[in-house]
């Protein structure tokens, strides 16, 4: 299936990935793609390999077989810091902000890069503080003192500082209150409008279906189903089969 927006080549194309943790064979021939500016969902029960897929794309884990193609270029095996600099950002499960760095310093890890003028940095900061005013308030506080929801926002803001073309979002709504969940929903909207692609791993099915254009469903380390999210909204049976909800 080709990406919904009609653009020819996908932004990220994962082909037949096999990833192992030590001896455990986690991913069995996973293939998927994300088009420019698309929001794509990745659903599945716990432990099926969704996070591992994201980590493989991010270069944090090297696949034993298969390849990851970004903007037409094979990037399998490149270290994560190279990928971050060419436009792939990662927001992991449990956020993992730098707890001992201040909010500002966390953000700086994103925009303190070569080629970013001071003016641009201020723009990025202003933008992010606009979306997340609470971060502006707490900018000099240590990351570890923030609440769970605030940390999630910081994690996403930090990724935005990289000015990425695609953000890999791993379970952003886990453990959050409903109010925060809708804030996350809004952010995904905003990013989509700005043309940033998102690969969204989630357990929250309704959110994923609402936010994404297409959805992949994984089971036991491989992709089992793939369709536009609108189809899934009416097809409860598939959801039930793979996700048990």
């Amino acid at each position: 299936m080709s990406p919904a927006d009609g653009n020819t080549a996908p932004l990220v194309h994962v082909e037949d990935i096999d990833t192992y943790y030590g001896k455990s064979h986690i991913l069995h021939g996973v293939s998927l793609e994300v088009g420019r500016g698309e929001v794509v969902g990745l659903l599945g029960r716990n432990g099926v390999g969704k996070s591992t897929t994201l980590k493989t794309i991010m270069g944090l884990v090297s696949p034993r077989r298969g390849k990851v193609v970004y903007e037409g270029r094979v990037v399998t095996g490149l270290p994560a810091h190279r990928l971050a600099r060419i436009g792939i950002a990662y927001v992991p499960e449990d956020r993992r902000i730098f707890r001992l760095l201040t909010v500002m310093e966390n953000l700086r890890t994103g925009f303190d890069r070569r080629g970013v003028s001071e003016a641009r940095r201020q723009e990025l900061l202003a933008k992010v503080f606009g979306y997340f005013p609470v971060l502006a308030e707490r900018r000099s506080q240590a990351g570890g003192t923030l609440s769970g929801g605030e940390q999630q926002m910081l994690a996403i803001a930090r990724a935005m500082m990289l000015e990425p073309k695609i953000i890999l979002l791993d379970e952003p709504t886990e453990g959050l209150m409903p109010r925060m969940i809708s804030q996350i929903r809004e952010i995904i909207e905003v990013l989509h409008r700005e043309g940033v692609a998102i690969l969204l791993v989630e357990q929250n099915v309704p959110l994923t279906l609402a936010a994404s254009q297409r959805v992949y469903i994984m089971e036991k380390g491989t992709v089992r189903h793939h369709c536009p999210s609108c189809e899934l909204k009416v097809n409860d049976a598939v959801i039930h089969q793979y996700l048990g909800v």
Binding site: L60, P79, A80, H81, R96, F98, L100, L101, R158
Partner: protein, 298 residues
């Protein structure tokens, strides 16, 4: 009453004063050495056995430069830079390939390095100790005693270097990179921080700090190929007592242990005074294993 006054008279006040000063001086040098060790351990989980040899090589390079130019400050700067570069080279060749493997391998690799470096020094410089002159002589009077200015300078410079390093960590992009990498190597990578190079830089900085300590300390003792051994052991003790990876803790621990040792040397002979640091270590391990100067984890 008699006994009390007798006791008070028996306390060697002048000795205590001198030893307090000595303790602080030795403590600051130890703090400089231990800071490098802590930095390296904190950021890449490497127990750098060869740290004492970097100290020793710094001293030797210092000796060479002083003999050639007579300028102590030049020697200090050049030795620091050369050994820092050496540290970077060593990290790239022997430690990078071991990234991600069992931590035992890095202890062994650095142990191997320490053997090679020590014997290299023995080969190049021979077994006879070299001496260098203090950059200036002269002492100041405190009460009725004389205390050498140079020693005060050592303490002040070490403090300045550590302070400068701390400032570097707290401000500026590279300081943030180092702190981020120390806290979460994986996410630092994911944020585009070139972690392998941060590791190399950290090792180089640690090596440079060790070298600077070596040059500063050299006028006080003879420079020999084995001078690093005692320091590395003490530095390990300090790092454990101060809390692994805790910079402030290792500085406090350095001064604490050095003071105790200096006081001990009033009554014991120096070879035995080292037992003090061992005892402190054992007590720390028994009662506060996370470190004496670290708040007890909840």
């Amino acid at each position: 009453m008699e006994l009390v006054t007798e006791f008070l008279h028996a306390i060697p006040y002048d000795q205590i004063l001198i030893q307090t000063l000595n303790g602080i001086v030795a403590g600051m040098i130890l703090a400089l050495v231990a800071s490098g060790l802590t930095l390296i351990f904190g950021i890449m989980d490497v127990v750098n056995f060869a740290h004492g040899e970097l100290f020793m090589l710094g001293a030797y390079v210092g000796v060479i430069i002083i003999t050639a130019t007579g300028n102590f400050w030049l020697a200090l700067t050049v030795a620091t830079l050369i050994v820092a570069a050496l540290g970077a080279a060593l990290q790239i060749t022997t430690l990078r390939p071991l990234l991600g493997r069992d931590p035992l391998t890095t202890i062994l690799a650095t142990f191997g390095l320490s053997l090679v470096l020590q014997n290299y020094a023995l080969w190049q410089f021979g077994p006879v100790a070299r001496k260098i002159q203090e950059p200036f002589t002269g002492s100041f009077s405190i009460f009725y005693l004389q205390y050498p200015w140079y020693r005060v300078l050592i303490a002040a410079l070490s403090a300045a270097i550590i302070g400068g390093f701390w400032l570097f960590l707290k401000h500026g992009t590279y300081g943030i990179w180092i702190r981020a990498t120390t806290q979460d190597r994986v996410m630092a990578q994911a944020m585009g921080i070139p972690v392998p190079w941060v590791h190399t830089a950290a090792f180089a900085i640690g090596a440079g700090m060790a070298a600077a300590s070596g040059v500063l300390f050299a006028p006080l003792v003879g420079v020999t190929h084995a001078m690093g051994l005692d320091w590395v052991l003490k530095a390990f003790i300090v790092v454990v007592v101060g809390g692994m990876g805790n910079l402030g803790g290792s500085i406090a621990a350095s001064i604490f242990i050095s003071l105790l040792e200096s006081y001990a040397s009033i009554w014991l002979d120096p070879a035995q005074a080292v037992i003090v640091s061992f005892v402190v270590l054992i007590l720390t391990l028994l009662f506060r294993p996370t470190g004496l100067f670290v708040p007890t984890p909840k």
